[in-house]
Amino acid sequence: LKAIAARVLGIPAMVFLATLPAACSVAQGRIGIDAPPEDQFSVQNSVGDYLDHRCGSLDCHGQPGRNLRIWGCFGMRLDPKDISSCTIGSGTAQPRITTPDEYHATYRSLVGLEPAVMSEVMQSNAANPELLTFVRKARGLESHKGGRLITPGDDQDTCIVSWLQGNTDMMACGKAAFLYPMFLAPMGPDASTSP
């Protein structure tokens, strides 16, 4: 009985499969998404650097197993011959900085995370950026292992939202990447131990 049922069910399945190529042939064109500008992402002290420095550390999104992967000299490198380190370079030493390929890879990683939602956000000029999961997680509106990182209106948030609006606030991005208490703190002896 099972063999008969399989044959009966198999005929419509074969007909369906035979018509599939014709049905799909209309969708052969390249599919694109509306995405924020890459040229405002991939320059120094912009969105790419902010994400690399703040989110792309090796203990967070600078890991190959993450769904939002971030590449750069502060974390995971794209070139298998490179090492995770940033240096300005001195004397004969070559500087080790985030490469154009790494900016590009991170850009694609981010805008391709939720392509349909990204398009929707772009079409509304980022009126509701929290439709994007990465914004919700960073704002603490959704569970995030790294916790709440940004507050609407602060430099980090301004950096991201202005980029989504297509007019990146470079000053905010630069400040977001480096001007943290831990970079400004006076070197006071709060706790001293000798193991």
């Binding site: 420095h53 703040r54 989110c55 550390s57 090796l58 203990d59 967070c60 600078g62 890991q63 190959p64 502060f74 974390g75 995971m76 490198r77 794209l78 070139d79 298998p80 490179d82 090492i83 995770s84 380190s85 940033c86 030493a93 292992k145 790294g146 916790g147 943290y180 208490p181 831990m182 970079f183 400004l184 703190a185 006076p186 070197m187 006071g188 002896p189 709060d190 706790a191 001293s192 131990t193 000798s194 193991p195």
Partner: protein
């Protein structure tokens, strides 16, 4: 039970398994609090829950060798207190390698200036 909050090992020189004894390690956390630590004879340093509970992210602002050589870490740790989770050997696209005070290049230069071998 001793609960460690941050811990790591500092080596005296890149690519050499010699500990950096009595190196000074300064850690600054998100709230601006600092922890000033000294490595033990094995090159290890750590903080405990009783002495320092960092507000993440934190940054190792400076590691200074006993001879005064200083290195800085510019990236931050967002949630990992174990330095070796990221700083493991060998250096690779997913690790800067072990923490050291003196790079191989700097050690060679220093030896050259002193007229000896590194």
């Amino acid at each position: 039970v001793l609960t460690l909050t941050i811990g790591g090992t500092v080596y005296a020189q890149q690519d050499k398994p010699l500990p950096a004894v009595a190196a000074q390690v300064q850690i600054v956390d998100q709230s601006g609090h600092t922890a000033n630590l000294t490595t033990n004879p094995a090159g290890n340093f750590f903080t405990t829950a009783a002495t320092f509970q960092p507000v993440y992210p934190f940054r190792v602002a400076q590691v200074a060798g006993a001879d005064g050589t200083k290195v800085n870490m510019f990236s931050v740790s967002n949630r990992e207190g174990s330095c070796a989770m990221c700083h493991f050997s060998p250096a690779s696209p997913i690790s800067p390698g072990p923490v050291f005070v003196l790079s191989t290049t700097a050690a060679a230069l220093r030896a050259q200036q002193q007229g000896g071998m590194p």
